[in-house]
């Protein structure tokens, strides 16, 4: 089953002579339990792709479907991000004034779930990824890797199956980065879908499928989904 589908998506920033064509007709599908990595140099349109996939941005043309729903018809994109899509960024991730557990609770609470239940759900996710001991610490008391773990937990809490990760390993050393990818791969094995944007081959290689983005178009892909081997 396809969780995320981009069909002929283009995105132009600005107009006239200063128009920047960030994406020029990209089609991409992410299946259930699949980890897809998008690789490309700076300015190749990676982040635009991710922003479009989560509804942080709207395509100039083309369609984005999440869980079979066309985002063009979705009015409350914020609710979509609370319920269907989770984001993990390299930085600007955790709210500094909330504890780890409170950060993970946040999407659920924003969605109207009562604090007690949200906390229970948050603890469940944190336990799943082995971060329950971090629950009551504030972000600036956590290491970079621990922060990303909490961010992943926050992206997964609730019923969300699609995780969009933008350079989640950017500020980390390679063993810690490998740990984060191991965690993402494990979540995929457990049924989640991950779209990972990175410019580092070693992390892209964790993906079932790697898509090369060059100047707003998909240049190539390691097409045979390795997932079929599973």
């Amino acid at each position: 089953m396809t969780v995320l589908a981009l069909a002929g998506v283009t995105r132009v920033h600005g107009d006239g002579e200063t128009a920047v064509h960030a994406l020029k007709g990209v089609s991409l599908q992410v299946g259930e339990g699949e980890l897809v990595a998008v690789m490309g140099p700076s300015g190749s349109g990676k982040s635009t792709l991710l922003n479009l996939a989560g509804g942080l941005d709207r395509p100039t043309s083309g369609a984005v479907h999440v869980d079979g729903r066309d985002l063009a018809t979705v009015r409350d994109l914020a609710a979509l991000r609370r319920r269907s899509v989770g984001y993990v960024f390299q930085d600007l991730n955790l709210i500094t004034s909330l504890t780890a557990a409170e950060n993970v609770m946040l999407p659920r609470e924003l969605d109207g779930v009562r604090s007690r239940r949200a906390r229970a759900e948050a603890m469940a996710v944190l336990t799943e990824i082995g971060a329950e001991s971090l629950a009551d610490r504030f972000p600036d008391e956590l290491s970079g890797g621990q922060r990303q773990r909490v961010a992943i937990a926050r992206a997964l809490v609730g019923e969300r199956r699609l995780l969009l990760a933008d350079e989640p390993t950017g500020a980390l050393d390679t063993p810690t980065g490998d740990e984060i990818l191991r965690l993402l791969a494990a979540r995929c094995a457990a049924g989640a879908s991950v779209l990972l944007v990175t410019h580092e081959p070693r992390y892209a290689a964790w993906a079932d499928r790697v898509v090369f983005l060059r100047d707003g178009v998909i240049a190539d892909a390691t097409d045979v989904p390795m997932a079929s081997a599973r």
């Binding site: 300015g43 990676k46 979509l80 984001y87 600007l92 004034s97 909330l98 924003l110 600036d140 933008d166």
Partner: protein, 833 residues
Amino acid sequence: MSALTAALRLSRRGVWQARGRSALIMLMIGLPVLVITGLLVAYATSTLSPEEGIGSRLGTADAALVQLPPGTTVQEGPQGGSWSSGGDSPRPPAEPAEITALLGAGTRLTPFATGSIRLPSGLVTALETDLSDPLTRGILTLGEGRLPGAGEVAVTPALGLRPGDLLRPAGGPPLKVSGIVDHPHQPTIRQVAGPDLPLETSRGLSALTTEGPGWLADTPRPVTWDDVTALNKLGLSVSSRSLLLSRPYRPGLLWNTPATIGVAVAVIMAILVPVLLAGPAFAVGLRRRRRELAEIAAQGGSAGHLRLIVLADGLVLGGLAALTATGLGIAGGLVAVPVIARWGGQIGPPDIPWGELLPIAAVGLFIGVVAALVPALQAGRQHTATVLAGRAPATARRAWPLTWSLIGAALVLGGLAASVAARRQSELVWPFVASLPILLGLVALTPFLVWFAGRIAPRLRVPLRVAVRDAVRNRSRTVSAVAAVLAVTALAVAVGIATESQRRDYRDSFTSARPTGSLAIWGGTMPDPTWAKLRAEAARRLPGVKLATGYHVHDAEGRRYAMRYTTRWNGVRVSRTAAVGDQDLLRFLQGRDDPAAAAALASGKAVVFDAANVRDGKITLRASVANHPDRRIEVPAVVATPADDHQGGALLPRAFLEQAGFTTTPRALYGVRAPAFDDPLWGALGKVTNRVTVTVEPGPQEGSGPVWLWVWLGAAVILVVGGTFAATRLAAADMRPDLAALLAIGASPWTLRAVVAGQTLFIAGLGAAVGLAAGAVTGIALSRPMTTHGTGDPATIALPWPFLITLVVGLPLLVSALALITRARPVLVRRPA
């Protein structure tokens, strides 16, 4: 020195780079400077020095002479004047020849009478003089038309008349408007001038030496004090040009008695509040520049250099703010004066009191440096390697500083004790002095208060929780904003309570012996037929009005007695004269039928409205008569309720007085109707006899309180709104990454706004709540000396609820609402670096 140059250059660049934040800091430093500068300029411009004002008083004359009423003597000297009335030998009015003889040959006099005329629209001040006489030049200037001749009049624009219109004053023939004239300093004055006016002069004490017939004098030599003494003997009050100009002039009502409040408010507001408001801005700036400073340290900058760089920020911003604010304040003050004058103020030549403005501008600069002081000290302490490594600086172990909190608590307790003690002082300044330790103590306690209030965070909904947590964690920013709101609120509350108490006390002090809106016609000594004519004329002029009759009391020798007693009203001794009359007068005084009181009156008892004066069923009166000692009379009495709250007095039954050997004659009429200003009644009764006084009971007048105090309060509100808003914008800018993360998680834009608004609410709400408590203490302490008049007068303490609620509830909600509708703009789409 070169280090300072480099620091100033860095600051200049930094100020330009962070334009938004710099503007906010400048706003917070500049606002009080601007407000105070504007007020001072407006005040200096709207007040007139003797030189500025003399033209409108004397024209080009050397002296103005006012004839006092017969029987009044006056003595004017360098130390002021004194006058007394009721002299034994009334002298005839002064003759021009007498005056010319006194002032020397060559003296020229032109008649110049001041007073008012009664128009359909009300009383209007009037000058009866020949405006074409060169001596009057400068008193009124002709705007259009021509100067009035015989049977004509010139009017000011406020009367809304055109040349050619007719003016119909009471008691005189209609006058034709010949021209429009302007008063040089009071654009809204309602005044008429002409050579022949039916002038009325109010001969109350306040107007004794300013209203009445008189002359303008052109003398060959300056008028001296010796001349004044001689003229006084002729019954003339003198305003001499040379003497007025030689009198030392002290400008600035701002520096005298009721303004001790103003000075205290100004000092506290002008220094404490901006420091508190600008402090967090510098702190945020420091956080932004931490890395830059660390790099400078890595290049060999010492801690002293880093401090200098941050202080230079304060110097640059404080200097710029002071300069801009002074400029804008002067311009604003000058622009505001004509606007204020349109509401009834006066306007003089533009006046810029540099002597006061320069220290205030210097205070602005000083504020900038002081506000940058704490961040500068922090900058000097920062650990370069930690900052360069991008690690967060170590946070304090305790969420609130113990020592400061203890000092704060001690100061608050000391201030409370001092306030209790200051309450007993009569000087206003002591409660203010006592309020300072409370205020400073609360400022020192604010970190603890913020921490304590922040403990509710886990129980709040998400946006508020994020807001409160962020506010508590960013203590340096929050604390000073809260403290600033606290200080401003406390001052506003204190001044508000004191003002309201004073206003209430003023209103409560009004008392009268007659109901509001009633008419009284008092006859003097007159033969009975005259009274009968007067009575008939009044009845004719007041058709359908039930007139109650009052009586004069005489003894067997025909001496007229007044039945007086003294009562206490709102703590002040008031002398009352008991009315004498029957049931109809009782009904008039009570405004209704009161069978119990009526029965008591019928049985010969006095009906008394001042309950405290009836002891053991009796009231003691002093029967007084001119040139004889008073007699004490005890009258059986009952207490009754009058028509109005403010009413007092007593009514004696005629029967009792006649039994006591007096005779009573009807000489007063009372009716429940206030005739209009232009009612022919005024003139008609005067034509019957001049021994009649007609008066309308206006009822209590609403005092609006000192205008300047309200202006201060307005400024306080601007400061709270401006300051809170500025602090919140800073917080919002600081929270931008958090807001972007919230957005990515799926928070709606309204949630983001709610976070920002929540922080505003926390800051303003906490500050206002604590400020209310602090201000109430000072306000109540202030109310006592402001509302007691001598021993035994209880203090009036009135809480201006609408004002307090607006300030403490409305204002935080207002600034939160402002924050809610202002776009919190997070980075919507993150661009790759």
